[in-house]
C-alpha cells in the first residue's frame, strides 16, 4: 500500500501547501514544466484530461511556472526527439503521458540526469524518472455496481480497444462490480482494435444495443458510444472525462481522470527540492479518479449503495479484487479474503470467471 500512503499524504498535503504556502517559496527562477501528449487536446478524452492537469498547475502556481505542451506526438522516435527538445530547452520537469513514451523517456532521461521526468502508465523507472497512473479499475467497479443495478435486460455491453492489462483489468472490475449486486448479469464485450474511431465506436455501441445491452461501458476515447446510448434511450458510463454533454439522459455516471492534484504536487516537490523518483498508482482515495455526475434518475438506494462502495474503496476498506476469485478457466486466482497485489494487477491478462469470450494469449 505504498502508493496510498504516498498519494494520500503527499498529494493532498502538497496540493494544499501549494495554494497556501506557495508565496514563501524562495524560487527566483521560473519552473519550466513540459507536457507531451499523444493525441490532440481536442480529443475530449485522454489528452484533454491531461491538459486539464496542466491548467491546474498553471492555476496553482501562476507566474511561478512556465508550461509547455506538445500535442499529437506519435509514439516512438518522434516522442524521443520532442522530449529531448523540452529537456534541452531547460524544462525542469517533463510529463510524458502515454504508455508508448516509456522507452523514449528512459532514453532521454539518461542524457539529462538533472531534469526530472514523469512517465504516465509505464513500469520503467530511473533516478530521475518517476511513474504514475490512475487505478481506473476502482471507478469501473463502482460503475459496475451502478450498471448491475440499473440493467433491466441483465446485459451490459463493453467496448474495448486492445487486450492490454489495463483494459482487461477494467473489464474484470466492472464485471465483478455488476455481479456483486446482480448475479444474473452478463457482459458482452466487443473489441474494436482502435483507441479512437468515433464511427466504429458508434457502430460497436449499436451492435451491443441491438444484442440487448442496455448499459454500455467503453474503454475507447471518443464519446460516440455515449451519444449513441442517448439516441437509443439506453444508458452508458462515461470514460476518462465527463461525457454528460453527449448523454444528458444516458450517462449514469462517469469515472473522470483527474491528473491535476498529482501534477500540482509533483511540480511543487520539484520546486522544493523534495522530488524523488516514485511509483504512484492513485485511485479514488488519492483524488485522482472521481465518480462524477451520478444521474438523478438512479434510485436513491442504488446511489447509496454505489456511494458506499466508492467510500469503502477510497478509504481502503474494500478492494475490488478480493477473493475468493477464479480465473475464467476455473483455475483459482485469489483465495478467500485475499486481495490482489499490485504486481498481479499490473500484468493481468485473463478474464475472471463468469465472463464469456476469449482473450488473445
Amino acid at each position: 500500500m505504498r502508493y496510498q500512503s504516498f498519494t494520500r499524504l503527499t498529494v493532498a498535503a502538497l496540493a494544499a501547501a501549494a495554494f497556501v504556502a506557495a508565496p514563501a517559496a524562495v524560487q527566483a527562477k521560473k519552473m519550466k514544466v513540459g507536457f507531451v501528449y499523444v493525441g490532440p487536446i481536442g480529443d475530449h478524452g485522454w489528452s484533454y484530461q491531461h491538459h486539464q492537469g496542466l491548467l491546474a498547475v498553471k492555476k496553482a502556481f501562476g507566474d511561478k511556472v512556465e508550461t509547455t505542451h506538445v500535442e499529437n506526438v506519435p509514439e516512438g522516435p518522434d516522442a524521443e526527439r520532442v522530449t529531448r527538445q523540452l529537456a534541452q530547452q531547460g524544462h525542469d520537469i517533463i510529463f510524458t503521458t502515454s504508455f508508448g513514451f516509456m522507452n523514449p523517456t528512459i532514453k532521454v532521461a539518461k542524457q539529462f540526469p538533472k531534469v526530472k521526468f514523469e512517465h504516465c502508465s509505464g513500469f520503467k523507472r530511473a533516478k530521475n524518472v518517476a511513474t504514475y497512473n490512475i487505478r481506473y479499475y476502482e471507478g469501473r467497479y463502482v460503475n459496475g455496481v451502478i450498471a448491475g443495478r440499473m440493467t433491466k435486460s441483465n446485459t451490459v455491453g463493453y467496448i474495448a480497444s486492445f487486450p492490454i492489462p489495463e483494459v482487461v483489468r477494467g473489464i474484470n472490475a466492472a464485471y465483478l462490480g455488476a455481479k456483486s449486486v446482480n448475479p444474473k448479469v452478463k457482459f458482452k464485450i466487443v473489441w474494436v482494435s482502435t483507441w479512437f474511431d468515433p464511427g466504429k465506436e458508434a457502430d460497436a455501441a449499436k451492435a451491443l444495443a441491438d444484442q440487448g445491452a442496455d448499459v454500455i461501458f467503453q474503454h475507447t476515447d471518443s464519446p460516440a458510444a455515449m451519444k449513441l446510448a442517448e439516441q437509443r434511450g439506453i444508458s452508458a458510463i462515461g470514460q476518462a472525462s465527463n461525457m454528460k454533454a453527449f448523454g444528458p439522459k444516458a450517462q449514469l455516471a462517469a469515472a473522470v481522470n483527474d491528473w491535476g492534484p498529482y501534477y500540482v504536487a509533483r511540480v511543487k516537490a520539484a520546486m522544493d527540492g523534495t522530488w524523488k523518483s516514485t511509483d504512484t498508482w492513485g485511485g479514488i482515495g488519492a483524488g485522482m479518479l472521481t465518480i462524477a455526475s451520478v444521474h438523478s434518475r438512479i434510485p436513491a438506494d442504488v446511489r447509496k449503495q454505489a456511494e458506499k462502495v466508492r467510500a469503502d474503496i477510497a478509504g481502503g476498506k474494500f478492494h475490488p479484487f478480493t477473493g475468493p476469485l477464479n480465473k475464467q478457466d476455473g483455475k483459482p486466482f485469489l483465495k478467500a479474503g485475499e486481495k490482489a497485489g499490485d504486481g498481479l494487477l499490473a500484468g493481468m491478462n485473463f478474464y475472471v470467471q463468469g465472463i464469456e469470450g476469449s482473450l488473445p494469449k
Partner: protein
Amino acid sequence: MLRLEPRREPSRAMQVLTPVFAVVLTILAGLVLFAILGKDPFRAIWLIFFEPLTQTYALAELTVKATPLILIGAGLAMGFRAGVWNIGAEGQFVAGALAGGSVALALHETAGLWIMPLMCIAGMLGGMAWAAIPAFLRTRFNANEILTSLMLVYVAILLLSALVHGPLRDPEGLNFPESRLFSESMILPILIEGTRAHVGFILALLAIAVAWLFMERHLLGFQIKVQGQAPLAARFAGYSEKRIVWMCLLTSGALAGLAGTTEAAGPVGQLVPALPIGYGFTAIIVAFLGRLHPFGILLGGLLMALTYIGGEAAQIAMSLPSATTRVFQGMLLFFLLAMDVLVGSRVRWIPRTVHG
C-alpha cells in the same frame, strides 16, 4: 491574358529555381497565416525553416526522419515511372519491420556483426513478400494494385498489432503490447556520437545511388520509362508488362521493408504497435516532390523532414497547435507542386485578340 505555353525542353534553370520560389512563397503565405493566428510570424518561420539547420543535433535528426522517406520514395518512384501504383508502401514498411524485427527477437541472446545484415535482408524479404501479393493479383487476376496494396496496409497494421499483443510480446513486459528491446548487435550503429543519426541514412544514400544508376544506365530502367510513357510502344518492343509490374512492386516493397527494419532497429529499437506513422504515404509525396528522380527524392525527403522537425520546434517554442504546422506543411506542398509548372511551361502575356 496570361497563358501557359509548353516548353520544348524542360527548363534546367527552372528545375533548380522552382523549389526556391515555392519556399519563398510558402514563407510569405506562412507569415500571413501566423499573423492571422496572432503568433509572431517571423519567429515561426525562423523556427520552422532555419533554426534546425543551425544545430548539429537537429541536422542529425533530419537524417533520422528523412531516412525512411528517402528509402521508400526511391523505390516507389521507379514504379510510378512505369505506371505501377503502389500506394501501400506503409504496409510493406510494416511487413519489413515485422520480418527484420522477428529475426532480432529470435536471436536476442546472440551477438555478432552478421545479425544486422541478416535483419536487413529479412526486412527486405518481408516487404517484398507483402508487395508480392498485389503483384501476383495484378498479373494473375488483373486486380488493380492501388486497391489491393492499400487494403493490405490496414491488414499489415492489424497484423503487427495482433503479434505484439501476442507472440512477439516482451515476456518481461507485464503483458504490455510491445516486444522486448533489441540487444546491441541488433541496433544500427550510430554515425555521430551523441546524436541518433544512424547507418540507415547511409543505406538510403546508397539506395539513391543505385536507383540512379539503374534508371539511367540499365536497360530495364529504360524499359520502365517506356512502359510508363508509352505502354503500347513497350508492348511492340516486346517488353513484358508482367515482368515490369513484378519488378517494380518487389523493388519498392524491398526498400519499404528495409525502411521498416531500419526504423525498428534504429531510433525505435523494438517492435511497437505505433511503428507505422504514415511514412509510406508521405514518401509518395516525397517521390513526386523529387520529380521521381533519385536525387530529387533525396532533397525532397530532407525538406519534408525539415518541416516536421521545424514544426515541432515551433510547437514547443510558441505553443502553436499541431494543426497549424500541418496546414503550413500542406501549403508548402501545394506551392512546390504548383511551381513545378514552370519547369515544363513558360508564362506568356498574350493580349486579348478577337478571333474572327
